[in-house]
């Protein structure tokens, strides 16, 4: 139970990695709240693991603030924030309009920034807290992936490092977890030949499971990992 009694907020957990983290964190003893926007059915599923749902877009500042206030009031504090909400669009540059760029950058990067900004004051006051940002191998290595998605994930890496430096003096840790291709991630519709090529270059020869990434995430945010901050950890099976 490495997250015993920890109070965790996860954004974007109605499906995929977010939902897996909600599940795994709860089984490690944490109390979990999560956000979702459209996927009602998915949110109900995640709630079954014992997590509390908030319908709240990471771009909606008033709603986010209200949620944080509510959690700090009923829980006492938010110990861990996982900025997981993110999306991608399969578009080549030629078809990428301004609105497409904005959509991905807004949800992935600005959303992380806004949510962090809402949760940080509480953490600073208590001089304790951990923030986990979900990045991607695509933001760390040169891969064939949509330009705006890669830019957003590379931005997450930079955000993690700078934020870690700035809040370390309050004892707050900020870490980025950058998974490679996962079994139910944004790369789910990769054409067969591209998937085959990726796996050819992956030492473990398979995509990652949500379960194992969530398990690592749990360790990364746990108290045992108290000296790691500012680091972007890649979990890709050796690409």
């Amino acid at each position: 139970m490495i997250l015993k009694d920890k109070r965790v907020l996860v954004t974007g957990a109605s499906r995929g990695l977010g939902a897996a983290m909600a599940r795994v964190f709860t089984s490690e003893g944490a109390r979990v709240a999560f956000t979702y926007t459209r996927d009602e059915e998915g949110a109900r599923e995640t709630e079954k693991t014992g997590a509390r749902a908030f319908m709240c877009s990471v771009l909606d500042v008033p709603a986010t603030d209200a949620m944080v206030r509510e959690l700090e009031s009923s829980w006492g504090a938010i110990d861990i924030l996982v900025n997981n909400a993110g999306l991608s669009q399969n578009l080549p540059v030629a078809l990428m309009e301004e609105e497409d760029w904005d959509r991905v950058m807004d949800v992935n990067v600005k959303g992380t920034f806004l949510t962090t900004r809402a949760v940080l004051p509480g953490m600073v006051r208590r001089k304790a807290g951990t923030i986990l940002n979900i990045g991607s191998l695509a933001g760390v290595r040169m891969l064939e992936a949509p330009v705006h998605y890669c830019a957003s994930k590379a931005a997450i890496k930079g955000l993690t490092e700078a934020l870690a430096k700035e809040v370390a003096r309050h004892g707050i840790r900020v870490v980025c977890l950058a998974p490679g291709l996962l079994e139910d991630g944004v790369g789910r519709n990769l054409p067969e030949h591209r998937l085959k090529d990726y796996l050819k270059h992956c030492a473990l020869g398979r995509v990652g499971t949500l379960e194992e990434v969530a398990a690592f995430a749990a360790f990364l945010v746990s108290d045992a990992n108290s000296y790691m901050t500012g680091e972007t950890v890649v979990m890709d099976g050796g690409v």
Binding site: L91, A94, V186, R188
Partner: protein, 499 residues
Amino acid sequence: MQLPIVDPKFIETSDAKTRGVFHSFSKGICPTCRILVDGVRLIRDGKVYLRKQCPRDGQTEALISGDADWFLKSLTYITNGSRPHVFSTKTSEGCPADCGLCPDHEQHSCLPIIEITNHCNLECPICIVQNKNNYMMSREAFVGIIDGLVAKEGGLDTVNLSGGEPTIHPEFLEFCELAKRPEIARVSVSTNGLKIATDIDFCKALADQHVYVNLQLDAMRNPALRVLRGGGDHQAVKERALENLEKFKVPTTIISTVAKGVNDDQIGDCIKLLFERDFILSLLFQPAAYTGYGGAHFGPHDPLNVITIPDVVRGAEEQTNGQLKKSDFLPLPCSHPGCFGLTYLLKTDEGYIPFPRFIELEHYLKIISNRGTIRPDENFENSIKATIDQLWTSAGQIPDSARILGTLKKALRLMYPADRVLELEQRLRIGEGLVKTIFIHAFMDEHTFEVDRIKKCCTHYAMPDGRLMPGCAYNMFYRHKDPRFAGDMGQAVIWGRKE
């Protein structure tokens, strides 16, 4: 030093134009005694003729291309064939006597056809096979053929069930089910549509089983239909069949056999049908081949004046008010260029745009390369990328580039959404909603048969003993001695026959 001007009378004879220009040698068969004979291809009057010399029956000529320009250009589309993995027979006597495929064959099976019966409920005057009404394929034989095809080809885009009239086979629906394999993307059936029109549950079953229907539909109106298909109110049947297919959204291809002087003025009508109905995915024109129990005796038939691929193309251009142009159609590079012509059309918000208008030829050919159907693989991805970049940077030089880009973007969003997994099947279906095709498939008969064409044939009849028989060779040289059909002719129940 100036050369003297030569008097034209020394370099051009008065009958030059009527004699024609030699193009190349060929090998065909004598239409009378059917032995292999030498021939030459001549260009005369803007058309291409095959002139043959039979030691017994003398000289004959047949029109093989109604447009010399198309013919000459099409020869430049010859690509390396994609050779078969497995050969069933040895080459000994030479083409076309060793079919099976023999190692001399140059193209794998793009389109395997399985004739599950030689019973039929029509007696079409234009029929190119020989329906003796005495054979129904057994389940074991069918499964054996499917297994064999999968083993030989690996993956297949389509397997076609045909006949006779395949829908009257008592186990037809089971056969459709048996043909469902992960290696086989589509199961299609070629049918006259009678059962579809009269049995609504059957039509629903086809829809439930995701069967693709190739519906025989030569024309929209009875007079032409009757000439080609025999007595009966075909128009009503076809309309009802279309209704039922549309009702259950069965993906449909319309097959129109085009015969000179009969329905060659209804090409535009068929194209209009294709554009107007969503459930119709493609249109296949088959210039009439005058062979088989029906075709060999069909009239009117003047071998020097028949419909060829470029004639259908011209008909398409003339009868759609220029909506389609000759330049939109290209030969299919993978089989012999004399056998197929086609165009792909992209559905945009404001109508259909033929691919060749916005995709560079090299990429277009790559996409359709050895298959004739589009597959979302590496070639496709590279070609689409190149096309998108080109459209994007062309700054309006390619007409409608913005519209096309918009459609391609929509296609990408539908086919590769980031938030949902799609199976290849679903992707193919979405692709079908955005792309339509017009194919032209020219079969050969005793007049137009040429050995070099048969060697590159990719439309093979699959035999229970594992052999694959190139279509036109089987129709003319092997069908009549197929042991499965030996024996007396059976009793046929013909629809629409006036007793």
